[in-house]
Assembly symmetry: C2
Homo-oligomer: 205 residues x 2
DNA sequence: CAAGGCGCCTACCACCTGGTAGAGAGCGAC
DNA sequence: GTCGCTCTCTACCAGGTGGTAGGCGCCTTG
């Protein structure tokens, strides 16, 4: 792995764990095993590094999402998208933490990013849900746009903090680990608040 | 308002907006209108100030929550608690941001706080829901503990980031403002995923 | 064999950080 | 009065911050 990629990897982890202000260039350089000026040779400034870290993550996002919407049939498209979304963040919780931190630290910047990378998907999802609503599979009182935003926000923030919730949502011999319980309940809440009762029963057999 | 309180107020706001590492003692002192050593006369260190800020917020929490559970009848206790929870954070979104930041920055510390200040309420809520489940008003497939945690997490993280979501969940002449849409959908999701269909219809008239 | 660019280094910079020392102003108690 | 206490201040500190200057080895290209 080339140095530039190593820097991005370690910077991503450290920014996610400690935040941008809580992480020094020195720390990142130490993690990579180079001197500070060497790092600043690859990235002009700490700020550029941060932008690159976020861009890197959004590139993954952009590479993953479209294929998922194209490879699924219209019927299970929503479920497939929801699952993919969860998997994207659970696969690397640093992504969720990074997004959450950027939202808190630079809300104006995040608005721009959301507009470009998230808004289109919200629109697509909401349109699908509106069609399903007309067919009677989705509850009539759903604000489809707000619902889509809600569910994505739940997935992101949930993934970011799940490990800390261990103490208040302990592992259970019957119900499984904290993570399992959380994901299962998230899925249940998302589904049962979306579909009409008939649809839910039909799908569950 | 005495100086100590002023310091706490400004520190709360600044920590919530910029994070602990992103805020300098100098900045807080400037906001209050005193010199840095004067601030450090009232709080031995920046770290103690942070602890006091959090303690202050948890004191509010502790003063508010019990009265709400005692003054409501068993029937609407859950709804009342949920509403109170939302109001607590919406009244001052800095609280939600502070909690979220502390969870990201010092997860181990947050675990301790959650155990002391949140776990008891989760237990109480879960017990109520379990009783309601036996009576058939709550869906049988709900993991009541996980559900309670989920809803609280939704309220906290939702409030913390709602203003930034403006771009992807715009104000709507029919559906209302971003905030209204978000809160309404949050409530709808929480309710409709909890109660059995009969119960929902009965309550809605 | 140069020439030159790339990548990494040491040494250094101004600036800011959290925190301390100690002086002095104001004020109530004896 | 003068003691002692509370509170705020100026002046200062060591250490860390992001970032720069410039040299040195290495590899590729003529």
């Amino acid at each position: 792995m080339d140095v530039r990629t190593q820097i991005l990897t370690h910077a991503t982890r450290l920014f996610a764990e400690q935040g941008y202000d809580g992480t020094s260039v020195q720390q990142i350089a130490d993690a990579v095993g180079i001197r500070k000026p060497s790092l600043l040779y690859h990235f002009r400034s700490k700020d550029e590094l941060r932008e690159r870290v976020i861009a890197e993550m959004l590139a993954h996002w952009n590479a993953l999402l479209p294929s998922l919407l194209l490879h699924s049939t219209p019927e299970d498209r929503f479920d497939a998208t929801m699952k993919a979304l969860s998997r994207f963040f659970i696969a690397d919780p640093d992504r969720a933490r990074l997004i959450l931190r950027e939202t808190l630290d630079r809300p104006e910047h995040m608005r721009v990013l959301l507009m470009e990378f998230v808004r289109p998907w919200i629109t697509v999802l909401a349109e699908q849900l509106d069609r399903a609503k007309e067919q009677g599979t989705v509850r009539p009182d759903v604000d489809t746009e707000a619902y889509a935003v809600q569910v994505i926000a739940m997935a992101v923030s949930g993934t970011a903090v799940i490990d800390t919730l261990q103490t208040i949502l302990p592992d259970d011999p019957v119900r499984g680990t904290t993570r399992e319980r959380h994901v299962r309940e998230l899925t249940r809440v998302a589904r049962s608040s979306l579909y009409t009762e008939q649809e839910t029963e039909r799908e569950h057999g």
